[in-house]
């Protein structure tokens, strides 16, 4: 299992710095509408805790003073949120039309072969997850993948080799 699963047993808590940012985010909305901050806070939680487990979502609900189900329904609607464990390095390859005609399917097959996993799976060491995603707005720079906040564009097999080598540990 991915190592970032461990938070389930440990204490779930944002850093003081993150909590201060959350307070500023909540203040962006009129009083009583703090729920609006949930999407941003879930992004922060996923970055901090690896994925959105039920305890993590419950923690976010407590921070926002909303019902846990209000967080669950958001977390399960939006495709960027992981409600199951994922690897440390999540490679999200765009598969939509313009990327497909520039060779996205070959890139996906190459990664699958190289890492020995299928679309949606994580390597046994919990390091890499491969996920195909829909259009990321990089159609002119296809094929491409997103990893964290970074876009990797004009992908080639060489670039994939290099990326995996650089992120293997």
């Amino acid at each position: 299992m991915p190592e970032n699963n461990t938070h389930i047993d440990g204490e779930i808590r944002f850093s003081e710095e993150a909590l201060a940012l959350i307070n500023r985010l909540i203040a962006q909305y009129p009083e009583g509408n703090q729920k609006s901050a949930v999407l941003r806070i879930l992004h922060m939680a996923q970055a901090e805790f690896g994925w959105l487990s039920t305890p993590v979502m419950d923690y976010v609900a407590r921070i926002l003073h909303i019902q846990p189900v209000e967080v669950y329904e958001v977390a399960t609607f939006y495709s960027m949120y992981d409600t199951k464990p994922v690897g440390k390095v999540k490679m999200e390859v765009c598969r939509t039309g313009p990327c497909m005609i520039e060779g996205a399917e070959k890139i996906v097959a190459y990664i699958e072969n190289k890492l020995g996993i299928k679309d949606g799976e994580t390597t046994a060491d919990g390091r890499f997850t491969l996920k195909t995603v829909e259009c990321l707005g990089a159609c002119g720079y296809a094929p491409m993948m997103q990893v964290g906040e970074h876009y990797h564009e004009h992908l080639t097999e060489e670039k994939i080799d290099q990326f995996i080598a650089n992120n293997a540990s």
């Binding site: 962006q28 009129p30 509408n33 729920k35 609006s36 901050a37 949930v38 999407l39 941003r40 879930l42 992004h43 909303i66 209000e70 329904e73 958001v74 609607f77 939006y78 495709s79 960027m80 949120y81 598969r95 939509t96 039309g97 313009p98 497909m100 005609i101 995603v133 829909e134 259009c135 990321l136 707005g137 990089a138 159609c139 002119g140 720079y141 296809a142 997103q146 906040e149 970074h150 876009y151």
Partner: protein, 450 residues
């Protein structure tokens, strides 16, 4: 000489920073509007400009603004739709990354025109690094006194924030965007009430695309009439076009509306022609949702007229032989591309992105995806072609939001223009697995069809 009003300065070193943007003449529109114009004067200039929504629908912006309800004591909101997710479209990203202050300046002037004191930019979650660029630029604008309390001593207050989405195409639909900004699932609302009356937190709200809001800056600087001098008929001003697919020069271009499709596609100033010396097979001129055009209807209309990059000319012939300018996502296919595969791919996208509220869209997109998959993989029957037509026709117009139409149109247009290629997949499945069909036969359209 062709004019660029939005991204002309994208190449100026440091233009993303406040200092350089200001030195290059930035924030003049805020000075002009707040010091010498009443809010309604700004609305009037936007009306005169003929500016139409740049997100895809092409609705006149000034008219949309004039619908905003203004009840006493109720806040009004301006929301910027930066949820750019339509396949083929990557223009707003370019503008926000390169010249973030142009969007912020546009937000200030537009918020002033609408009487909004708090405004939000809703940006797709995948563009998180652009959210950071925008937040930095907003902090600089606060620092310089363009945002906050009593801007330029005029008594006008404005706070501006950025809010991320989290991976949902549907949130580009304005009522889904509002739901999402309220911290909920992006399920579109039934209209009426329209956002102009009941939008964010039940308050009157305007939602405009990034490029639309940016265009307000040159409109205020030079006047609406000056802006309207560019273009043809009701297609005024400039438009960002993101070009991709099998062309020599993919990228983001600012065009004067009214140039010919032929010039855009083949001149070195823009797409630079089809890659690898291939022939054009098809083009989706305005993002994945708009009808696909076969090669013989791209640069000219069915009536034989030169097709122009305008709302009207691209739509000439209606859905029989025309398409739409849409979001400006210009996707080009060469002779080696398979229309069945592309249609399957797009349909999978809409199935994935359907919010699931309305049965015709939720079930219909999945059904079409399955039928297209079996056609593409050699298990299709002739009846499947009729079945596809039947499903798309029953989705169109039968859903709360336009995603249903957006899913139906690519299928309908592909069947309309490329039926022989679909039939070939049924008749020659073994061949269809090995090679592509090539270009479809040019049809002669009756005048009645035009």
């Amino acid at each position: 000489m062709k004019r660029k009003l939005l991204i002309d300065k994208a190449g100026v070193p440091g233009i993303a920073s406040y200092e350089v943007y200001r030195k290059e003449g930035g924030y003049r529109a805020v000075e002009k509007a707040l010091k010498s114009m009443a809010p309604d004067d700004v609305v009037e200039e936007v009306k005169k400009s003929g500016l139409r929504g740049r997100g895809g629908a092409g609705f006149p912006t000034g008219m949309k603004w004039s619908f905003l309800a203004k009840p006493e004591g109720v806040p009004r909101y301006l929301l910027c739709n930066a949820d750019e997710s339509e396949p083929g479209t990557f223009k707003d990203r370019f503008l926000m990354e390169k010249i973030p202050h142009l969007l912020i300046e546009g937000m200030i002037v537009s918020s002033y025109a609408l009487g909004a004191n708090t405004s939000y930019i809703y940006i797709r979650g995948e563009y998180m690094w652009i959210l950071h660029i925008l937040e930095k630029a907003i902090a600089e604008a606060y620092q310089a006194g363009w945002l906050g309390k009593n801007i330029l001593g005029t008594g006008y207050n404005l706070d501006l924030y950025v809010n991320p989405g989290a991976g949902a195409y549907i949130c580009g639909e304005e009522t889904a965007l509002i739901e999402s900004l309220e911290g909920k699932r992006g399920n579109p609302r039934i209209k009426p009430p329209f956002p102009a009356v009941k939008g964010l937190w039940g308050c009157p709200t305007v939602v405009n695309n990034v490029e639309t809001i940016a265009a307000v800056v040159p409109i205020v600087n030079d006047g609406g009439e000056e802006y309207a001098k560019i273009g043809v008929g009701r297609s005024t001003g400039t438009k960002l076009i993101s070009a991709c697919g099998n062309i020599n020069k993919p990228g983001v271009y600012e065009i004067e509306l009214g140039i010919s499709v032929d010039e855009f596609l083949y001149s070195d100033e823009y797409c630079g022609g089809i890659k690898n010396g291939k022939q054009l097979k098809a083009c989706v001129p305005g993002g994945s949702s708009v009808p696909i055009l076969p090669h013989f209807l791209v640069t000219r209309t069915a009536a034989g007229e030169e097709r122009l990059m305008t709302y009207e000319s691209l739509a000439d012939g209606g859905f029989q032989t025309g398409s739409m300018l849409g979001s400006g996502g210009f996707i080009v296919y060469d002779e080696d591309q398979c229309i069945v595969r592309n249609t399957w791919n797009f349909t999978r996208f809409y199935h994935h992105e359907s919010c699931g509220q309305c049965s015709p869209c939720r079930e219909g997109t999945g059904w079409m995806e399955k039928v297209l998959h079996r056609l593409e993989y050699g298990h299709g029957k002739m009846e499947d072609i009729e079945l596809l037509w039947d499903i798309q026709a029953k989705i169109e117009g039968n859903t709360i939001c336009p995603l249903g139409d957006a899913a139906a149109w690519p299928v309908a247009s592909a069947l309309r223009h490329f039926r022989e290629e679909f039939e070939w997949h049924v008749k020659e499945p073994a061949q269809a697995m090995q090679r592509n069909y090539g270009r479809v036969t040019e049809k002669v359209f009756e005048a009645a069809n035009a």
